[in-house]
Structures are given as C-alpha cells and as structure tokens.
Amino acid sequence: MFQLFGNAIGQVVAISILVGAGLPALFAFGIRALASGAGGTAEVSGDAGRPAMKLVAWICFALVIAVIAVGLSVIISSGFGYRVSFDNIFPTFIKK
C-alpha cells in the first residue's frame, strides 16, 4: 500500500514540478522580456527599451498557452474515450 502510494505520489510530484513550477517560470521570463522591451519605468534600472525583446515575450506567452492547451486536451479527451498521440509530432486525437 505504502509503496503503491509512494509511486503514485512520486509521479504527481515530478509532473507537477515540471508543469506547475515550470510554466510560471516561463511566464515570468515573458514578463521580464516584456519589461525589457518596454524599458523606462518598467525596469528598476530604467534603461531604454529594446523592442525586439517584446517578440521574445510573446513567444514565451504563446508557449505557455500551447502547453496548457495540449495538457487540457489530453485530460478532456481521455474522458471522452480518446487519447492524444504525438506520433506525428503534432498532437492528434485517436480513439482508444
């Protein structure tokens, strides 16, 4: 019983740290890049903005949204009897 529980909780810890702490970190990178892009009062240093960083910021945000979307579709589709396959790199729905 305890071993089974240890295995299950270990998996939850691993995935949760990856997603639950990794995505906020990625989002934070986005915020930082956005601030760097805006410059001026957005940063403590008050340096001039570097507009190219805004692109980096939006790539970060887009990645966060994409990971959430894939995660949700994995969970919801399994409820409807489908699984998500990454065989073709792009996620596709396959009936279980």
Partner: protein, 406 residues
Amino acid sequence: MLLLILVIGTAIAFDFTNGFHDTGNAMATSIATGALKPKTAVTLSAVLNLIGAFLSVEVALTVTNAVIRIQDSSGAPRPEFLANNGHELLMIVFCGLIGGIVWNLLTWLLGLPSSSSHALFGGMIGATLAALGIGGVNWMGDGTKLDGVVGKVILPAFASPVVAALVATIGTWLVFRITAGVAERYAESGFRWGQIGTASLVSLAHGTNDAQKTMGVITLALIAYGSWTDTHNVPTWVKVACAFAIAAGTYTGGWRIIRTLGKGLVEISSPQGMAAEASSAAVILTSSHLGFALSTTHVATGSILGSGLGKRGADVRWGVAMRMVLAWFITLPAAGLVGALCFWLGNGIGGYAGPLLVFAILLGLTGWMIAHSRKTAVHAGNVNEEWRAESKPGASVPAETVATKA
C-alpha cells in the same frame, strides 16, 4: 419514494455546499490581489465549474466504493440492499450526505477551508458504521491497488498539501528570481493575467472532479430504488441538476473561506498568486488524470502556504494554518459522527417519520448556522479588509462589520 426524493434533494444540497465551500480554492488569491473583482471572480468560477461538470463524462458511479461496501465493482448496489426498494442503502446515503452538509456548513461558519470530499466520505463511513458495523467499511482495499479509507483518503490527505506547497515554493522562488529587476508595479499587472488564467484552470478542474461525485451518488440511489438500470451512464437530468447546483454554490461564494485563504494565511502578491494557482492546477489535474484525485482544498491551501515560503521575507501565519490542519484531522470523524447519529435516529424511529425527522434537524441546523453567520457577515464588499492578527474564528471578520454589529 419519499426517501428517494429526500436523498436526491440532500445530494443536490450537498453539491451546492461543495461549490460554495470551494470557491476560495480557485479564486481567493485573485480576489486578494485585486486581479479580479470579487463578484467577477465568483461568476467566472461558477461558469467554469458548470463547463467542468459537463466535461466530466467518466462515470463516477463507483464513488462510494472507495470507502464503503454497498456497491459491487460495476457500480450496481449489492443485492442484499435491494429489499424494500433499497431502503437501507438509501438511508445510508441520505445520512452520509447530511453528515457532509452539516460539516461543510460548520467549517464555513468558522471560515475554515476543509475538504468537501472528506466531509462526504466521513458522513458515508459514519452512516455505514452505524448501519452495518466495522465490516461495511472498506478500510484498506485488498492491497493490490490504492484503495479504501487509508489509500484513498488518509494517505492523500497527508501528502497533498506537502506536494502542493513544494511545487508552489519552487514556482514562487523561480518567478521572483526571474523577474528581479522588473519594476514591481509592472510585474504585478502582468502577473494578474497569469493569475486569472491559472485560477480559471483550478475552477475547471474543480467542476470536473467534484460535480461527478454527487452525480454518482444520485445515480446509485436511483438504481437502488429501481428507477434506473444503466451502470454506464448518468441520467441527463442528474447531470444538469448537479452541474447547476455546484455552479450556483460557487456563485454564492463562501466569502468567509475566501477571506481566510486570500488574506489569512499569507499576504499575497500577484506573482505569488499565479504560482500558487499554477501549482494547484498542476497537482489536481495530474493526480486526477493518474486516477487518484486529491482534495482541491488541501492542495489549494498547501499551494498558498508554499507561495509564502517561496518569497523571501513573506510572513506565513502558522496559527491560521494550524487551525486549518486541525479541522482537516477532525473532518472525517466529525462528519462520520453526524452521519452515524442521523442513521441511528432515522432508523430507530423508522418508517417515513425517521428520515423526515432527520431532514427537519438538518433544516434546523442549517437555519441556525446561517442566522449565526449573519452576526459577523463576510461578503463581496468586505472580503479583502485587513486581516487582524490572532483574531478568533468568528472575529476574523473585518473590523468595520464588528463595530457596526456590536
């Protein structure tokens, strides 16, 4: 027939308290940081709970199997309970639900977030002990998988706040590391969007996890009574009723609990709020996807604590946290005691009078608790007032309200 109607009514009432008790798990941090206005937050959460409830198509008919032995593995009631239109099974479920509702309302009155699923399981265990004795409870399962009171309730309860706190601590620490150098006001406004997104995920997860428990209980009652036979599907009206009950409960907003979670544990900023909700969403969704659902409440509380631990110089009010943990310890036995007392009383009197009397007691207790809550009302207007240190549970209410009522 009367008993069946009472069971369905109390099940829907339980579902309502479930939504109402757990609004704070998703929305407390967004309300506390001002990312969302209180009313907007509960509305958003209610809508997402509603959607979540309809997305949960996996049949939760075997929900009681985790802790008690009144169903077989397909979800059908055990044949020995089918006598007299399933009277005994309906009584067990009825009293278990009452135990859950009473405990949910009492902890709400005290402003303590406690697990609604533990309250439900506690009530069921109590009623089963009263009805069938020790053998009616599934303590450990057969040892081949995580099962029973120990495997599905007690072990997860110890682990989930720790796991959530760990993830949120790491997340918060990373976020503050990465955004060092960004002006605080600029970061605050950016992270508010992240907060709204992550809080929405927690609401959605709550709807998918919790509404189906009540759906399973009602369907079990219908099968026991003999008016439904399909163990693979939930009747549509049950699904709709449960989805709307949990959404309505969420919309009503358990403001007392929102206040404790949002203001009582940690003074929270929006980067912390986002890290906390991201941790909650990740832990809840992964655990339920892997087949052992953790209590939303335990996870959310752990995450909020973690967001305090991960920020240098942040205060965590351990006194408030300890009072919550104490409430978690007694949730199972307390809801169980109510369930057992209801069963003894209702079954002792028997006939229709027994369950009706028990139902009347439930209504009376509910009325008393609501009346009592009015004395120190917490609502959308004052939920964010300054938290006064070392206040008693009933007094953890804004100063202004106390002054006007005194």
